[in-house]
Structures are given as C-alpha cells and as structure tokens.
Amino acid sequence: MKTNQELNPIKESELHSKNKKLFREFGILMVLAVIFVALSIASPSFLIPINLINIVRQTVEIGIMAIGMTFIIIAGEIDLSVGSIFGATAMFAAVLFQKGTDPTLTFFFAIAMGSGIGFINGFLSTKAKMPSFIVTLGILQLFRSVAYGISNGRSISSFPDSATNSWVFGFGGNIGIIPVQVIILVAFLVVAHFILKKTKLGFDTYATGGNKKAALLAGINIDRVKMICFIIAGALCSFAGLISIAYLQSVPTTAGQGREMDVIAAVILGGAALTGGRGSILGTAIGALIMSIIKNGMVLLGVPAFWQTGFIGAVIILAVLLDTRISRSNSFK
C-alpha cells in the first residue's frame, strides 16, 4: 500500500527548517526598537553610555525575578508573592550580615529561604490543590509581615566591614564600566534560556502549561515541574534581594513591595500567555527592558509625575496589541 508520503513527497530540507515566518518575539522587539529610536531622538541624554548602562542596571532586579516568573507563567501558574520573598529574604540576610555571620553562609541561607518559600508556594499549589493565585497572595501578605517583624520596623543600613568587604557585596560593584549585577543578569538569562528551550525540564514546563491533562497522560510529572518552577522563582527572588543589599547598602521594610506587578508585566509584555504554554526568556528580557527604558525616558523628558504610571500602562497595552497583531498573522488559526 502506498503511503501518503510516497504519493506526495516533501522536500527533506524543508521538513526541518525552522519556521520561515517571523519568530514570536519579533513584535515586541520591534516595539523596543521603536521606543529606543524615539527616545534617542527626543532626548539628547538618552544615548549617553552612562544612561544606557543605568537603564540596564535598573532592569536587573525586576529582570532576575521575571526569569523565575517566566517559568511559572509558562507552566500555567502565577506567583504574586515575589515582592515579599524579595523583601523578607533581603531583611533576613541583612540581619545576618549585621550580626557578623559569615557572608558566604548568609548568602546560602538567603537563597535557601527564598527556595523554601518557593517550595511552600509550589507544594500548596500542587499537592494541596489550591489555586496558585490564592496561595501566593496569602504568602505575599504573610512574608510582608515577616519582613516587618524581622526588622522591627526599621531599615537595616549599617553593615560591618566583614560584610561590606565580602564577595557578596561585590554584587553592587562594577567591573570596569559594567556593573557586576548586569553580568549576573545576563548569565541567568542565558542559563534560563537553555533550560527552557533545550532541556527536558523546559519542555515539560511548556507542556504542563500548554495542556495539563495531555502532559499528564504523556507521563510528565506535572506536580514536580510546577514545584521546581516555584522553587527556582523563590531562589531568584532572594538572589535579587541580595543584589539589592549590595547595591543600596540598605534594606527598607518596604523592600520589594508592589514589585510583583512590574515582574508580571515584564513577562506578559514579552509574549507569555497567562493561560500557560507560551513565553520565552528573550521575550521577558525585552519586556523588562522596555519598562526600564520607558521609566527612564519619562524622567529624561520631564514628563509630569501624574502621567508617568498612565504612560506605562498605555505602552503596555499598545505593545501587547502590536504583538497580538503580528503573532495572529503568523499563526494557523
């Protein structure tokens, strides 16, 4: 019996070629380019290297947290507690630094705490079958109190030399003209990208978010996948917190408060779908960068204070609109 294949032969080379259509992040990349060019023209201070470096540096904290959020959103969940994890672990680390605990140990404790909170988020969202929205909302409140409690309501700002001279505080410094934290961000971005696109964990994450039932029936351990995503996110939040301590050398009680919205916005701007199964590290990085550039641009252009949040909101809507247009013309639907 002749198969379809033999009757309608297809060129072998075409079979494996990557989609010749525009890649998914193209839309948002164009948005970034447009904003970049617009600001370069509108403000003479924009293209100053120091300003550009500032922009990238200002993207680091949100960027690192957004990496974790990308995993979670692709897996079909959400994490509202990132700001609180950031704040609580930063507070915890700050107290340890102040007490003179070995900085390396403090580093690991902080990461462990962040991972632990991520574990709780993951556990409650999977085994306890609670919606992650509710779970992480509760954790957000809980650990905001923890941050207040640890610090007794005060900023923690004075650190002994044993801390400030350590490698951990080196995160706040520069190598030449490039901030160390930017290098860290880029490193995380690269590693995360490879995990998502080239490993089984990444594949399983997309599958779990794309169609939970189908992934389950294909033998993927969806609970474990989600758990890992939450833990990664928690660990990354605490890392971002440590970078914040190193750079600002002060942790206010409000550290991280409200950041979850920026983090989620960066991921969604980057093309992830809240329903899961779609998203990429590249997209998230572009999304985070767009937000930083806009915030910077508004200061450079002297935009009146009240307009600023509104402007960011408008850009987010326009960017997503543009992105939907471009991806719709490419999709099969």
Binding site: I48, R154, P252
Partner: protein, 343 residues
Amino acid sequence: MKKRVMVSVLCVVFSAFLFAACTQSPAPASDTAASSEASVSASMTNGEEENETNSEQSNKDVKLALVMHALNSSFFTKMQSGAEQAGKDLGIQVDVMAPATMNSLDEQVSMIESCIAAGYDGIATVVWDPEGFNDVIQKAKDAGICVIGLNQDAPDSGREAFVGQDLELSAYEMAKYFFENEMKGEGTYIIASCAPTNTALILRQEGVERAAKEFPNIKEKPLIDIGTDLTTAVGVIESAYLANPDVTAFIGVDAYSEAIGTFIQSQNLNGQVFAAGNDLAEGTIKHIKNNAMQLTVGQNPFLQGYYPIVEMYLKVAYDYVPVNISTGAFFVTKDNVDNVQPE
C-alpha cells in the same frame, strides 16, 4: 535565521555603545553642570552690571528636579505645588516626579540616577531611608549636582541641607501642649500611625513619648496602625475605642490623623474624647472647628517644596552654600482655625 540575525544586530549595537563608553571620560553628564558653572563664574568676574544679563542666561539653563517618595496624597502634592511655584517665580524649569509605589527605595534611587543622566543641576528628594540613598547622592555630587533633602531626613546621607520640620521636637511640643491644656495632665492616650515602621513617624512617636514622661498621671496604651485609607482607619480606631472604652485621647502622628476626628464626630464624642493630629487636611480643619479634634500641627509642605528649589537655584547661580531650613511647627487650635487654609 531571521531571529539570529536580529539578535546579533542588537548585540552589536549595544556592544558598540559599551565600547564607546570605555573610551570616553566618565560621567559626561557633568558637562551640562560644568557649562552652567562656567557661565556663573564668568558672570561673577565680569562685574555687577553684567550680572543681570548673564544671570538671565543661566536662568534659562538651570533645571531642577524634585523626586518625591510618593505623590498619593494632597499633602505631597502640596510640596509639588511649592516646588513648581518656586520654579515659576524664578523663571526656571522644575520637574516633579515620584515612583508609583510609595517608599520604594530602588525605584526612587533609579529615578535619581536617571535625573543625573538627564543633566539636572539640582535634585531635591525625600531622604526617608537612613543609608539607602548614600551612594546615589554621592554619585550626584560627583557629577556636580546639588542635592537637598526635604520632609524626612537622613543626616548622614550626604545631602547638602535639609528643609522640613524637626519631627521629634515638633511632636514633643505638640504633645506637651496637648497633655497640659486639653488633657489637664491626666488620662490615657493611644497613638494612631498610618505606617508604624516609617522612620519619620517613629520620630514623632518618640517625641510624644518624651513629652508623656513629664506627666506622671498620663499613661500610654498600645499604638494602632490605621493604614492609609480613611475608611479603614476609622474602622481601626472604632475597634480600639471598643477595646479601651475609657481612653481619654487619640494622638495622630501623620496626615491621616483626620480619621480620628471623623470617628469622634460620627460617634458624637466631641469633647469627651480628645484628639490631636498632624497636618492641615481639609477634614482635620473641619474637625477642629467642630471640636472633634482640639489640636493639629502644620509643617507647611508648600514651603518644604518651595525652599529647596530656591536654595538649589542660589547655589547654581551664585555658589551660595545651602543651609538647613526648619519649616516650623504651626499649632492650630479652635482659637486660630478660622484663619487657616487647608493643605
């Protein structure tokens, strides 16, 4: 294929910028500050007659920024008006901005960094964290930018001057007056704070408690957190009153002390339960007229916005050294309330 091309193009473009940065001298933002200083020193050496024309030139060049920690209440927007009015009066550009979230340290620091790059000649900001702003203030000063603190202070942060109220002292005086004249030296009080962890408000609390030590028959009950929403605040105060029905007075340490008056008014406890508060919100003024509150203290937010602009302009134009300015503690009671404008 296209994706790889795009990404590599972007990488090349950004690397180009970084390379350019490496070969350039650091902090080129100082160029703009340097140029205005150059014109200033030129005007100084060219004699008085030329002062006016030259200072008109530098007038137009001077641009100042006010970076608030929040703009979510009329109290803060009053500071904005003060700064903007100063800008109008002096004929210079003044830009006011704040992060969307109140008390977001990293966002405020980032904003100031952007201001440095934008070439502002002076930056006034609310330094509400004891050390978090140290680095960025230093960066500003290295770039030749004048930095003045207002409203809340961190003395070691490197700001060149502070414009505002001495929080601890004003609270001490307010409480002392209140304990003596309204509570007549006896009774219990509860402090209501909208943000018990806020450094500025903690200073006020301490002022109140210091005054209380001088009155052996006045006892303190635990502090309550009323938050920054008026309706919720009234609810919290109600509950506190139910838990302590024989409390004599509530003392508010921030602009939301208006809620205390609202509570007393709605329960018709005027004159039975006493209240003192801070700032001159419209509601608070009304409460004083109706005896729902007996005392409030203004700190003149308009001046807290106005003076820093003037000081920075004077430094940029005439090399004047900025000084600390106390905007005072202005007591408002039913005796003078009719002459007071809300803010």
